[in-house]
Symmetry: C2
Subunit: 502 residues, 2 copies
């Protein structure tokens, strides 16, 4: 267990105000204890299995069925965190976490988030807490510089950035403005009845289909464009054919979502060529770089963003690979006026002189929800604590770990790299073996508890994914993962040999 609350100065005598507001002194004591609890948790992460093995309902059954009638002392609550929760977690910050994409956080991010929680302000309008809006605008401009994004995405130009909860929401917002544009301004009133179409590759993220569904376009308006069989990148010629077919059928093409770093294999769509087609057809181009965008803080990886000056909107997730805790998706548009026009609804109780005059940014008009918290603080803390060089070092370290791992895979004849990539994901499998054997390899490796890998299918075939990026992952963890994978494969193949012989 990560911490022991009773040893941390939270003595029974200090808890006498449970049920009422916590005193400042008590908050200091309890707060220091929680900070120490987190430090202990991080320092002992390796002792936990990466993911739990208990069946569904285990955590729920450890909690009382009814809420307490009377307040309980804080030390009891903190003790239950160890007793009930920790054993039921998949530990995304664990150095052996190689699943999905990373969702890494860092000490400065956690401290920034803590400040934000303590301030408890609402940034729905500039007027409801000006610093909440202005720090966010500046942080998104900082990020745009760190990634060397096109000038028009910056707030000093026609565009600007905003924090969304996730790339899913960024895609949804982009889809909505795109519908507004494609409709010639009638969408706000008429809805999607005219029949629109949304385009992404067969490797595009599921959130694109979900955004189209939410926006009322319907699955029948979603076009999944063929990809190149080797690179798994969208084929521009196939996109053009799909656009032509829709136009011929009377559908209105609204948005193309190109991906830099697909979820399955980190494929990179040819943004430059796709952008030229979007310009030609007058279709909105959104570039989804949810995971891979962070790589652009390194000049040597910025080629992955080629063609971005063609995009109408772009997003990446600092909460995936840039040490900023969830939720923090950074979303930019090239034309903020069009975005606000699409989404604004102004009731009397929110009216104020500066909003009426258009003199300020009201971020509620840049997103689905009305309310918003001060998420820019954590970004500010992260960008300042690490600096550009610290962030580059983080990305380079993960890329190097992944490259080293890929080298081990290549050096072992039993394995093959399925799709090489420049980021920190390695897709591989046992060469010439069935999906069942590869699936058994994944299950066997994960059963160890020391690592977590996930899978995908490439051209229909079961493929293992190892994604590097958890903040505490060092070479020794990647090496141990490889050793485990190789040993598990040896066992599996021997079993199979015995079955074949028998």
């Amino acid at each position: 267990m990560a911490g022991d609350a009773s040893a941390r100065g939270i003595t029974p005598g200090a808890d006498t105000t449970a049920g009422g507001h916590m005193s400042a002194d008590e908050f200091r004591r309890a707060g220091h204890a929680v900070v120490d609890w987190i430090a202990d948790y991080w320092q002992t992460l390796e002792k936990h299995p990466v993911r739990p093995s208990d069946p569904p309902g285990t955590v729920a059954r450890a909690l009382p069925v009814t809420p307490p009638e009377h307040g309980e002392p804080f030390d009891r609550i903190l003790t239950d965190l160890d007793r009930v929760v920790v054993g039921g977690l998949t530990h995304w910050q664990h150095p052996g976490f190689f699943g999905y994409f990373p969702a890494n956080t860092s000490a400065p991010s956690v401290l920034g988030d803590l400040v934000s929680a303590g301030l408890g302000v609402q940034g729905m309008l500039w007027a409801t807490s000006p610093a909440c809006t202005e720090v966010e605008t500046v942080m998104l401009d900082w990020l745009a510089q760190l990634l060397e994004l096109p000038q028009r995405f910056r707030s000093g130009s026609t565009g600007g950035g905003v924090i969304q909860d996730s790339a899913s929401s960024a895609t949804l917002v982009a889809t909505l403005v795109a519908l507004h544009r494609a409709s010639g301004g009638t969408w706000r009133t008429a809805g999607t009845a005219a029949g629109y179409a949304v385009y992404t590759s067969t490797e595009g993220h599921s959130s694109i289909e979900k955004a189209a569904r939410i926006a009322g376009v319907g699955d029948q308006g979603v076009r999944l464009i063929d990809v190149d069989p080797v690179t798994l990148a969208m084929r521009p010629d196939a996109l053009r054919r799909a656009l032509d077919a829709d136009l011929a059928a009377g559908r209105r093409p609204a948005i193309v979502v190109a991906t830099v770093g697909t979820t399955s294999t980190t494929a990179i769509d040819p943004v430059e060529e796709i952008g030229a087609i979007c310009t030609e057809y007058g279709v909105w181009l959104h570039v989804d770089a949810a995971y891979a965008g962070a790589a652009a803080v390194c000049p040597e990886l910025r080629w992955t963003h080629a063609g971005l000056e063609r995009a109408d909107s772009y997003c990446f997730d600092p909460h995936k690979w840039l040490l900023t805790g969830f939720d923090c998706d950074a979303f930019w548009v090239a034309d903020r006026a069009e975005l606000v026009e699409a989404l604004t609804v102004m009731p009397e109780y929110l009216r104020n002189a500066l909003s009426d005059a258009g003199a300020v940014i009201d971020y509620r008009d840049w997103q689905v929800p009305l309310g918003r918290r001060f998420r820019a603080v954590k970004l500010w803390f992260v960008l300042r604590w690490y600096g550009a060089q610290g962030l580059q070092a983080h990305i380079r370290s993960a890329v190097a770990h992944a490259a080293w791992f890929a080298d081990q895979v290549r050096a072992d004849d039993r394995f093959e790299i399925v799709t090489p990539g420049p980021f920190s994901l390695v897709c591989f499998r046992l060469r010439g073996q069935s999906d069942e054997v590869n699936s058994a390899l994944l299950a066997g490796v994960n059963a160890s508890g020391s690592v977590l890998l996930t899978h995908t299918r490439v051209a229909g075939r079961f493929t293992l994914r190892l994604a590097v990026g958890a903040p505490r992952t060092e070479r020794r963890h990647v090496a141990a993962a490889w050793e485990l994978i190789a040993d598990t494969a040896t066992g599996l193949l021997a079993d199979q040999q015995r079955r074949d012989d028998g």
Copy 2:
């Protein structure tokens, strides 16, 4: 300024790792300093004006135009929080904050949020961190008991609860499932082309119109139903007429959003009668109790939720008036299978045996975004620290403060209560005076810096709103607000008298 970082043990010598990952010891030191900073901030809140008076751009100009190349020590970052940010905030936790609705937080909530940030897990699927899902399900069941919500909203029945970021998102999700139902299952594929209609009162929240726009229904499918001129509650007869008119015109009624506690005046729609109509017409009923729902923790205020057993979905915001920091909207549905059916999209890289078997809750299918953080921790901490009785005391205190304030307004012939309400909002104005005079009263009061009130329009007339609920508001703050309002009115009316005489 709230804190002085250099006095808190963050010595320059300790900051040598800026740019790299923060050491555990350094995180402990910095974390204790941030906790103390927040305690100081809360203890000195009254010294700050509730909202800043600086012009737009003041905060942005205090920040460097470019991000730092090298990491900076933590003490410098914390110092800048005072130097740059605090003076640019509207302080929602200030005891003189009476604007909008409260967005109150509490020490246990902040500590729970801190734990959640430290754990840094992803709860998109049960499998991606089981405790994240199971604690949330149990907490929503606890809340359902605290509010005595209908049995079918609980996870042991056909329904269940989930945390959304806001009531806006809850309304959007309800609208989407309602469209799925109204379409007979064709909406996922065909979108909203068939032409649907959404109903709320003229006093319904702007997020209802926004949800309809996002969902592709379009503003022309939004029906704002007339309200009773005195209570400002939706008129069931007018709803029925609107439903009939749409059916006659070939539109499909999809959802009625009834409100318990409207944003403008806390009006309460007749949910029982509206629900009977919804049942008759087969239309989804969503009840939006974003602010007022918290009142139902008190048995004596539960009458405001009469008829809720007719609802298909319901939400309220613990982040408004139940001491849980933003974001935390609690959203329930009576039929979780229908919700999941409407929103699920399952790509290969998220597939797992338990999801495939339908054996677990995957909350990604209950919301717009894919990713989600462990927000249930703060709710767990709040419900345990306060207990049912502590939460009731918090609600009763605000209701009593508002009632006391309303009594002062009633006792002063110059004023009138515009709409009486059972919660903690008082709507009032200077009797027989123009909108300009009432607007000047609001501006004069807010210029003091010691309080913040907002406004609305009732039957077209400018009305002041005083909403009680900030966690540190005591009777003396409400009394001071009243004194300030009465004195400001005296000055304004004297000026006017002079102008009339002159």
